[in-house]
Symmetry: D2
Subunit: 241 residues, 4 copies
């Protein structure tokens, strides 16, 4: 059983009626519900949000989390550096991390990747097509090619990230732009998946194909190994004999 | 000075008046002229075609070639296995190779990559946008983002290639498809660049931005080192002391 | 349950008493026994050898194989091109492939990688240390760092392979050489793992840590997806709507 | 002409007579002299050190630097976060960076890579062999295989770094360990090369082969493009037409 924590900024949903109409219980609740519905007893899902004590991401919670999903947008700088360092450490030790949409600008994503993660954008409710370029990857299992999302914010290249270890999905938009919207990296023992669909103004997390991608990604990112990073140990000669 | 050999199948141009109208001296001549014009005295360009003796790719020609460009389409199976093996060996020894458009199905490309190189396609004269995803790569230098090609054949994912070492360009098409249209690999000492624009029915090789990409790629693929592969040599103990 | 076929050239064992003393039933039998013992009911293991009809790798056998392991040495050129093409197709369609030791020079490995796969070697019964560089990779699970192999043939860099998708193990030898002895690649839907320990003159496949690596690799390479490659299909406009 | 700034911590050299005996003018001066001697008029080399105002790395200096080399050890935490952020920004904008030996634990290296960069070590004056695994890479041009360094500190795997874009050198040590001692990454427009030989207690930077590697790396890392990162710009529909 994979223990999932769905983290949500939970600001738009409380402040903007249009967003609340789409996600009455918050985006995090919709994401969590999609995972629970897709994966049933294979997961145990809980949520955590910015306004909670330590943003809901205490040591105890992270110790009890196999995969963390991260959605944030307008309040990235309200996330405390201490919690970011804690999440960073958890990923290096083997916790999986799914970074969603505008989470590209989160502190944790930029810390893990070392780059600014800039991109082009336009919010015009455009049709997004999510094409699979790596059909045998487990994250793409059972996903139509392409996924058709009727209305989304456009994210376009160049996307200022390090070369992904794996490129799984590339999106196109009605306006003609393209975006590497499904990428993986390994950092330490942790597996990271970035997935770009998911603006707060559109019901993307209710889309069954998007839910399927996230469910696949949770299973993929679940840790094979949890390890405490060791620092740089001094080794005596021939210790391995 | 980089010694370039532009190889062309030269079948469509001779058999189809519509193609000949676009490329009266053959596609290879247009590609060669673009390189000469872009690079001037930095290159010495010649051409070779299928119908020539040994397809114009004798040992002497390859020994005198730093970068080979390859365009073929309907006559891939008329290229002799012996010449393919010779080109393969030259690439491994350090010769650069630019594979163009329908060259994705050439024997030499499939031999180097080990995969079928299948893709989706549609010839409907669609607008292609070629987006740069790696703006600091030398092959993208001075190239607008995107390159706009008014009419082209669509090539779409999934493209059955090994993971590229570098992904430089991604195309979108008016119909919504995407394609990893600018990729590099290293095989042995040789650098390989695949670039997808270039169907024979459209004047793509007269497009100044496409010419710029090919000129950049020639400079990038020029060998740093020409080496004779060594087989697997037996090494005495401590030979390096 | 993973269906494994262990392929062995089975020449040294029959012709050389010293090898037969180490592997009385052939190297393939020892490899198969190690997998069965390590994985129990998670696998069903059979063997196939060069001298059998179609080298024991008929269409029916490959259709019934999830992961194929390949050991060959002196008789690579006796493997028929037809069988190589069949195995190639099976890998592209999703069958996992483990290439062992001197299998680096097999037709199937060179066909999949597109490079000569040359290396340096010396058969002096040297101590080999197999170091894990990617400790969270499932193939390294439960493996000591390093694995100590008291006597082995030396394989040394440069190893003429394409850049691996993942580098898991690097070996050092008493003589001072190093070798990328544990590498993965994906080709089509198939996962490939190369593992260098395993010369016929030493009891490497009886080593419990080597057996553990091979067992891990079988589970890793088992196909997520079996797919028939599709050729390059023509796509009508808007087919995805 | 490539403008190089050689940065040195310059602490050991001032405090430890044994180190000063090897590097009487500081390690940075020896590294700078090696580059000037190897590259002549192709470079203009200056040095900067920790104790200088802003560690000698003011905005003006970085604006006038194409490639920065970084050696530090005991005083990593004395480097100000402001200077680290400035160097980070310069790398993303295209400045090349060579990180040397114990610089693996520098703030700038960890910031760019996002991982702890831990390793194993032992200071026993062991022979290090630096093997080239990518002989056609320009950083390996003219370098013997292996480079023999008579006495060095041992650095061993696992090295807690992201998967390198390119792996050029692997070292072995007399004690049997291995280390990915020559790796490259691209971050933004900047090229990064890590090279592990170079402990302060041994005259490694006087070694002609090490000097050759560093000279090659300076030429390789020199920026193709200097660009100001753009933030995430909003794009109107059809802006590219």
């Amino acid at each position: 059983m994979v223990r999932v924590t769905v983290w949500g900024e939970n600001v738009h949903e409380r402040e903007e009626p249009a967003v609340r109409a789409i996600y009455p219980d918050g985006m995090h609740s919709a994401i969590a519900a999609g995972l629970s519905q897709s994966l049933g007893e294979r997961v145990r899902v809980r949520t955590a949000t910015l306004e909670q004590h330590e943003h809901g991401l205490t040591e105890d919670v992270l110790d009890d989390t196999d995969v963390l999903t991260w959605w944030g947008h307008g309040a990235h700088d309200q996330v405390s550096d201490e919690v970011v360092a804690r999440v960073h450490q958890a990923v290096l030790s083997g916790m999986g991390l799914l970074v969603l949409h505008s989470g590209h600008y989160s502190k944790i994503f930029k810390t893990l990747l070392g780059t600014p993660c800039d991109l082009r954008w336009r919010n015009a409710g455009e049709r997004e097509l999510v094409w699979t370029v790596d059909p045998s990857h487990p994250i793409a299992a059972g996903v139509p090619n392409p996924i058709v999302i009727d209305a989304q914010e456009m994210y376009g290249e160049p996307f200022a990230i390090p070369r992904p270890d794996e490129l799984i999905f590339i999106s196109s938009f009605a306006g003609g732009e393209v975006f590497r919207g499904g990428c993986t990296w390994v950092r330490g023992a942790g597996r990271i998946f970035y997935f770009s669909p998911g603006d707060q103004e559109y019901p993307v997390y209710h889309h069954p194909d998007v839910q399927r991608v996230l469910a696949n990604a949770v299973l993929w990112a679940a840790p094979r190994l949890r390890s405490a990073p060791a620092g740089s140990p001094e080794s005596p000669v021939g210790w391995w004999t």
